[in-house]
C-alpha cells in the first residue's frame, strides 16, 4: 500500500506540474461527515471563509454535508474523491481511525492524506460536586474498592470518550461500568441528574458547567491546560500518562498535488493566527491546536497504532 501511495503521489505531482501556478482555479469542495448545524459543521463553516481569504484571490470553498454512519459516509466520499486538491474534508479523530478497526469499512486510512490539524479537544472525566471522588487518585482508589460499581456515561461506543476510559482502565487496572448514550448532551443530563456517577465529556463540552461549579472535572487529557478551563489539571500533571481527545482537522484524498497541499497548509496556518478567526473560535469554545501535514499525519499514525493495540487486547465492540 505504501508503494501504491508513492506511485500515486508521484503521478499526482506530474499532473500538478502543469496547473500548479494557479491553484486553486475553481471552487474547492469541503466534505463534512456530520449534519449541518452540528459542532463539526459549525467549525468547518467558520473556518472556510478564512481559508478562502488566505488561498488568495477568487478562491471559493463550498461546504458539503455527508452525514451518516458515525462519519463513515463522509470519510468514504473523501477517500474516493479525485486527488486533485479540489476535494478536501474535515476529519475527526478518533472516529476516522476507530471505525475501520471496529468494522468493515469502504475506506482505509491509506487513502486519506492529512493536511492540517485545527482543533484538539481533550477528553475529561466529570462528576457532580457531591461525588465520593473528586480527583483521579480518589477515583482509582474508589474503583479498586468497589470494582464495576462506578457507572460512566459516554457519547457513544468507540467514541473518543469511551476509548479514553478504556485506556485509563488499562493504565490503572480498575474496572468501571460503561453506559453509552447517543450524544454529549444526553451524557451531561444523566450526570447532572445523578443517574450515572461520572461523565466522559470533552473539556469544551463540560467547560461552562465546570466553571460554574455545577460539575467537577477530575482532569483533562490534553498535553497542557486549556485557557477555557484553566483550573482543570491534566492527567499527566496528576501522574497518569494518558493523552486523548478529539481532533478536528483537514484531510484530502491521498496523492493530492504537492502545490495544493502546501497552499492549503499555509492558508490554514495563517487562518489560525488571524485575530478575527481566533475571536470566533473563542466564542465557540474551540480549543485550537494547529499542526502541519507531517505532524498531523504522525499523530494520526501514532493514535492508529495505539487503537490497534487496544482493540486486540480489549475490543470496544464485542
Amino acid at each position: 500500500m505504501k508503494r501504491l501511495f508513492a506511485i500515486a503521489s508521484a503521478f499526482g505531482l506530474t499532473i500538478a506540474g502543469a496547473a500548479a501556478a494557479e491553484y486553486p482555479e475553481r471552487p474547492i469542495e469541503m466534505i463534512v461527515a456530520y449534519s449541518a448545524g452540528g459542532g463539526t459543521d459549525t467549525a468547518a463553516r467558520t473556518l472556510a471563509p478564512f481559508i478562502e481569504k488566505y488561498l488568495g484571490e477568487g478562491a471559493t470553498i463550498t461546504v458539503v454535508n455527508r452525514p451518516g454512519a458515525g462519519g463513515e459516509v463522509g470519510f468514504t466520499e473523501l477517500s474516493r474523491a479525485r486527488p486533485d486538491g479540489y476535494t478536501i474534508g474535515f476529519i475527526n479523530t478518533p472516529n476516522i481511525l476507530s471505525i475501520p478497526i471496529a468494522r468493515q469499512t469502504r475506506y482505509s486510512m491509506d487513502s486519506i492524506q492529512a493536511v492540517s490539524n485545527v482543533v484538539d479537544d481533550a477528553g475529561a472525566f466529570n462528576v457532580l460536586p457531591n461525588s465520593p471522588f473528586t480527583t483521579l487518585d480518589e477515583l482509582v482508589a474508589y474503583a479498586k474498592e468497589n470494582p464495576g460499581s462506578v457507572t460512566y456515561g459516554t457519547s457513544g461506543v468507540g467514541g473518543d470518550d469511551h476509548l479514553a476510559v478504556l485506556q485509563f482502565e488499562r493504565l490503572t487496572g480498575i474496572s468501571m461500568t460503561h453506559v453509552p448514550f447517543s450524544g454529549a448532551a444526553d451524557v451531561r443530563a444523566a450526570v447532572m441528574g445523578g443517574h450515572i456517577a461520572m461523565a466522559g465529556l470533552n473539556i469544551s463540552e463540560a467547560a461552562s458547567l465546570v466553571n460554574e461549579g455545577e460539575l467537577i472535572a477530575l482532569g483533562q487529557m490534553g498535553e497542557k491546560r486549556w485557557t477555557g478551563a484553566p483550573d482543570v489539571p491534566t492527567f499527566q500533571e496528576q501522574g497518569y500518562d494518558l493523552v486523548m481527545g478529539s481532533s478536528r482537522g483537514i484531510g484530502a484524498p491521498a496523492g493530492i498535488p504537492k502545490e495544493a497541499l502546501n497552499a492549503l497548509q499555509e492558508a490554514i496556518a495563517k487562518t489560525v493566527e488571524d485575530p478575527e478567526f481566533l475571536a470566533a473560535a473563542e466564542k465557540q469554545d474551540l480549543p485550537l491546536d494547529f499542526q502541519n501535514a507531517a505532524d498531523f499525519q504522525a499523530k494520526l499514525d501514532e493514535l492508529d497504532s495505539n487503537l490497534q493495540t487496544l482493540w486486540k487486547e480489549d475490543p470496544w465492540v464485542k
Binding site: G37, G68, V73, V179, S182, D186, M192, H195
Partner: protein, 497 residues
C-alpha cells in the same frame, strides 16, 4: 424582580426594524418549511445558520425563533387539507383536522389550528421567559428507567387507545419497532439488520418513513381520482362566525400544560405531546364518539400541544446545554456561533441577548397568527388545483425534501417503498401512526431499558424505584386494561337490559 428588569431592558432592541423584519421573514419561511412534506424546522434552521454568521445576534436569533414557531404551525396546513402531516408532530392533527376539511370546514379548521398554535407558542414562550431555571430541573429528574416507561406509555397509548382495533394498532406498532432496530446498536456498537450496507448504518430516518407512509398514499389517491375533498366545498369557510371559540379554552389550558411538560423532557418533544393531548382531551370530552370524525377540540388539542413544546424544549437547552430535540440542538449551535454559551451564566452575563431571544419566541407566536390569518385564504386554494396535477406536485416535493436530508438517492427509494407499504396498510385499514411513533419511541425504550439494567447491575427492581417510574408504569397498565374493561362493562350492561 430580576426577570422583569431583564425583560424591560431587552425589549427595546426588538423594535429595531431589522430585528422585526428578520422575525417576519423567519415566521413566513417557517410556515412554508413546515408545510412542505419532507422539509423540517431542523433543516431550515441548519441551512440558515451559516447565513447568520455576520448578522447581529438578535437579528439572527429572531429569525430562528420565527422559523421554529412557524414550522410547527405550518405542519398542520397539509395535514388538514391533504391529510399529509408536514412533521411527525402533525400526525394527530390529521385525525380531526382532515375530517373537518372533508366536511367542508377547511377554513374553520385552519383557523382553529392557527389560534391553538399561537396560544400554545405564547404560553410556552412565557414559561421560558419567567420560569426557565426552575423548570430545567424537571428535565434532570428523568433517569433511564423513567424514559423507558414514558416511551412504553407513549407506544401503548397510540397502539391501543387511538386505534379502533387494538390488534391492528399493535401490529402497526410492531412494524415500527422492527424498523427502529435497524442500524448500529447504541449500547454495544454492533450492526443490526444492515445487510452489510452502509446506507442502513444510521438507521431509518424518521422523516423518510413519515413522508413515505403519509405523503405517498394521498398522492396515489389523488392521481387515481379518489380525491376526498371536492373543490366546491372549499368556500364554506364563512360559516365559521357562529363557532363558539370559548368552548376551546379548557382544551387550550390542558393541552398547553401537556406540551410544556413533554417539551421539557429531552428526546421526546412535540410528536408525543400532540398525541397525548389528543388522547387526554378525548377523555374529558362530552361527545367522545365524534372524535376522529371532525371534532374541533380534537384539532385544537394537538396543535396547541405541539406548539407549546417549542419554547419548552429550549428551557433545558439554554439553562443546561441539553437540547430537548433536534431543532433545539441546532439552535444551540446558532447560539454558540454568536458567543452565547448555554448554562446558568447565560441568564446573567448575556441577559440582554438571551432575554431578547426569548422575547422573540413570544413575539413571533403573535406574528405567526397574523401571517397565518393572511395566508389561510391562499392555502385553501391548494384544493382547487386539479388532482391530476396536485398528485405529481406532492411526489416531486416529497422527493426533493427527502433527498435534501442526506443528499441520498437511497433514502428517496426507501421513502417510495414505504409509500407503497403505507398504501397497502390504508387499504387494509391498519393505522400508520403507531408505526411512525414506534420508530421514534422504540429505540428510546430499548436503549433506556438497557441503560437502566447496566446502571443497576441487571437489577429489575430499579425500573420501579423512582416515583416517576411508578406513576408511568401504572398508566401503562391502565392503558392496556381499559379496552378490555370497557368491553366487559358493556357486556354486563347489555346482559342486565
Amino acid at each position: 424582580m430580576d426577570v422583569f428588569m431583564n425583560i424591560a431592558q431587552a425589549a427595546p432592541a426588538l423594535l429595531d426594524p431589522s430585528v422585526l423584519l428578520a422575525m417576519i421573514v423567519g415566521t413566513a419561511v417557517g410556515i412554508a418549511v413546515g408545510a412542505l412534506p419532507g422539509l423540517s424546522a431542523t433543516m431550515g434552521i441548519a441551512v440558515l445558520i451559516p447565513l447568520t454568521f455576520t448578522m447581529e445576534p438578535l437579528v439572527a436569533l429572531g429569525m430562528i425563533a420565527g422559523i421554529y414557531n412557524g414550522s410547527m404551525y405550518g405542519g398542520s396546513i397539509p395535514a388538514i387539507l391533504l391529510r399529509i402531516p408536514g412533521t411527525p408532530a402533525g400526525i394527530a392533527t390529521v385525525f380531526d383536522g382532515h375530517e373537518m376539511a372533508k366536511q367542508g370546514k377547511a377554513r374553520l379548521a385552519l383557523n382553529i389550528s392557527l389560534v391553538s398554535s399561537s396560544i400554545g407558542s405564547a404560553v410556552s414562550a412565557v414559561a421560558l421567559l419567567l420560569l426557565a431555571p426552575p423548570l430545567a430541573m424537571i428535565a434532570l429528574r428523568f433517569g433511564p428507567a423513567d424514559y423507558f416507561w414514558l416511551a412504553v406509555f407513549g407506544m401503548t397509548t397510540i397502539a391501543i387507545m387511538l386505534s379502533g382495533n387494538p390488534a391492528k394498532g399493535i401490529l402497526s406498532a410492531c412494524f415500527g419497532l422492527c424498523l427502529g432496530v435497524v442500524g448500529i446498536d447504541t449500547i454495544t456498537g454492533n450492526e443490526r439488520f444492515t445487510f452489510g450496507s452502509v446506507e442502513f448504518l444510521s438507521g431509518i430516518h424518521i422523516i423518510v418513513l413519515l413522508t413515505g407512509l403519509y405523503a405517498i398514499p394521498p398522492a396515489i389517491d389523488l392521481m387515481m381520482g379518489r380525491n376526498t375533498i371536492d373543490a366546491g366545498n372549499v368556500d364554506l369557510g364563512e360559516k365559521t362566525a357562529n363557532f363558539s371559540w370559548s368552548s376551546l379554552i379548557p382544551t387550550w389550558l390542558r393541552s398547553s400544560a401537556i406540551g410544556l411538560i413533554v417539551g421539557l423532557i429531552p428526546a421526546l418533544g412535540g410528536n408525543i405531546a400532540a398525541l397525548l393531548a389528543w388522547q387526554e382531551e378525548r377523555r374529558y370530552s362530552k361527545n367522545k364518539d365524534n372524535w376522529g370524525k371532525g371534532e374541533p377540540a380534537g384539532l385544537a388539542a394537538p396543535e396547541c400541544a405541539n406548539n407549546a413544546d417549542t419554547a419548552a424544549t429550549l428551557i433545558p437547552a439554554l439553562t443546561l446545554g441539553i437540547p430537548g430535540n433536534a431543532v433545539a440542538a441546532v439552535i444551540l449551535g446558532a447560539l454558540l456561533v454568536h458567543g452565547l454559551r448555554p448554562g446558568p451564566d447565560l441568564f446573567r452575563a448575556d441577559a440582554e441577548v438571551t432575554y431578547g431571544f426569548m422575547l422573540t419566541m413570544l413575539v413571533t407566536s403573535g406574528m405567526m397568527f397574523v401571517i397565518g390569518k393572511l395566508g389561510a385564504r391562499a392555502y385553501v386554494n391548494v384544493l382547487r388545483v386539479p388532482r391530476q396535477i396536485l398528485g405529481p406536485i406532492i411526489l416531486v416535493l416529497t422527493t426533493v425534501g427527502v433527498y435534501a436530508i442526506h443528499n441520498s438517492i437511497f433514502e428517496v427509494i426507501l421513502m417510495l417503498v414505504f409509500g407503497l407499504i403505507g398504501f397497502a396498510m390504508e387499504r387494509l385499514s391498519i393505522p400508520t401512526a403507531p408505526a411512525v411513533l414506534a420508530v421514534i419511541l422504540g429505540p428510546i425504550a430499548e436503549e433506556n431499558l438497557r441503560r437502566a439494567l447496566l446502571i443497576s447491575g441487571d437489577n429489575i427492581t430499579y425500573l420501579v424505584r423512582s416515583p416517576i417510574s411508578i406513576i408511568l408504569a401504572f398508566l401503562v397498565v391502565i392503558a392496556l386494561v381499559s379496552p378490555a374493561w370497557t368491553t366487559w362493562r358493556k357486556n354486563k350492561v347489555n346482559a342486565k337490559a
